[in-house]
Symmetry: C2
Subunit: 198 residues, 2 copies
């Protein structure tokens, strides 16, 4: 299929764009159970970075599913394809110079390894939002755990499908011990030296 | 499938990012025959904009096919799916504030209408790189026309598959009359007032 394709060399590189922006781009990947607080912390981090003139963009499952991946179901194969495409988009975003934030349950170690492979290990920061299942179910912001327990949602992570916690995440956030602003500070302390160049 | 999805509202908006960058993002879409000069002009435009501190990113068929769309063939259905995904990625890129350049043969009016619909008409600039089939075939930089004439490539645009020229492109570049730098100047004159805010 790729026999008649030729890789193009572009004049303007990622380094040129990073230099223009005074920042280094990375993919900051949030993983954790539904309701663990991924999106809340990701959004707070984005605001915090924007206030420091860092250009960011957030990819989120709830949003990308209405566009790029609206043809995909929640079958096991399609969940992996969902994450593969998101990783490929993140790779392009990183190449554009943008600090890319992604917030997805991404329950399988093998899928997160795939994402790391696609974007390159040096570009990937894994943030494990570690909130216990009991706490997520107690919060149940969207009422999904109740539906899952009632059998109205199949393959629900933590209830009827596995969540494989990261073995050695770059950053671990225990939301039952940290406030949102404390979580953001923890992440910023970790990434500041790698992304901020101004 | 989307029953249990909720659209997220993010604190940082496209307008915030555009303001940070002092630019307005658009999708500048190059369409034309293989060998018409799309990529050459797109790359020259990207350099020109970068020199003026405009953050850009180029999506290109030869490149995106190795990543996001490597699962797709060159069947009619997959060519449309290829362009649909590229448009969805462009939509995210525009939302990130980046001036997005895309260079694809995109031979069908219906596909280009789909792209316009996905990203929004107000974000879409169609650049028709109008080089005659005779001239493209004479140049034959990649030797593809020769192969297509010999029957070694199926569904080759202009030879064994149609190219539907834009009826009212935003910008038309006749490469048999303009040098590359003249083409870039023509495009920049057209887009300057909309993308540059500094």
């Amino acid at each position: 299929m790729t026999k008649n394709l030729h890789r193009q060399q572009f004049g303007i590189t990622r380094e040129d764009r990073e230099s223009l922006l005074n920042q280094n781009s990375k993919l900051i990947w949030f993983t954790g159970l539904s309701g663990s607080g991924k999106s809340t912390i990701a959004n707070a981090l984005e605001s915090y970075l924007h206030d420091r003139e860092i250009l960011t963009y957030t990819l989120d499952g709830d949003n990308i599913r209405f566009g790029l991946n609206k043809d995909l179901t929640f079958s096991a194969a399609d969940r992996t394809e969902n994450l593969r495409r998101i990783a490929e988009v993140a790779k392009l975003m990183i190449d554009s110079g943008v600090v890319t934030i992604a917030s997805f349950i991404s329950p399988l170690i093998s899928d997160r390894e795939m994402i790391r492979d696609i974007v390159g290990s040096e570009n990937f920061l894994e943030v494990f939002v570690n909130t216990s299942l009991e706490e997520c179910e107690r919060r149940d912001v969207k009422g999904l755990y109740k539906k899952a327990r009632a059998g109205e949602i199949d393959n629900f992570t933590g209830i009827s499908a596995p969540y494989e916690a990261p073995l050695s995440p770059d950053i671990e956030i225990k939301t039952e011990e940290l406030a949102v602003n404390e979580a953001v500070n923890l992440i910023y302390d970790h990434i500041k030296s790698t992304i901020v160049t101004k």
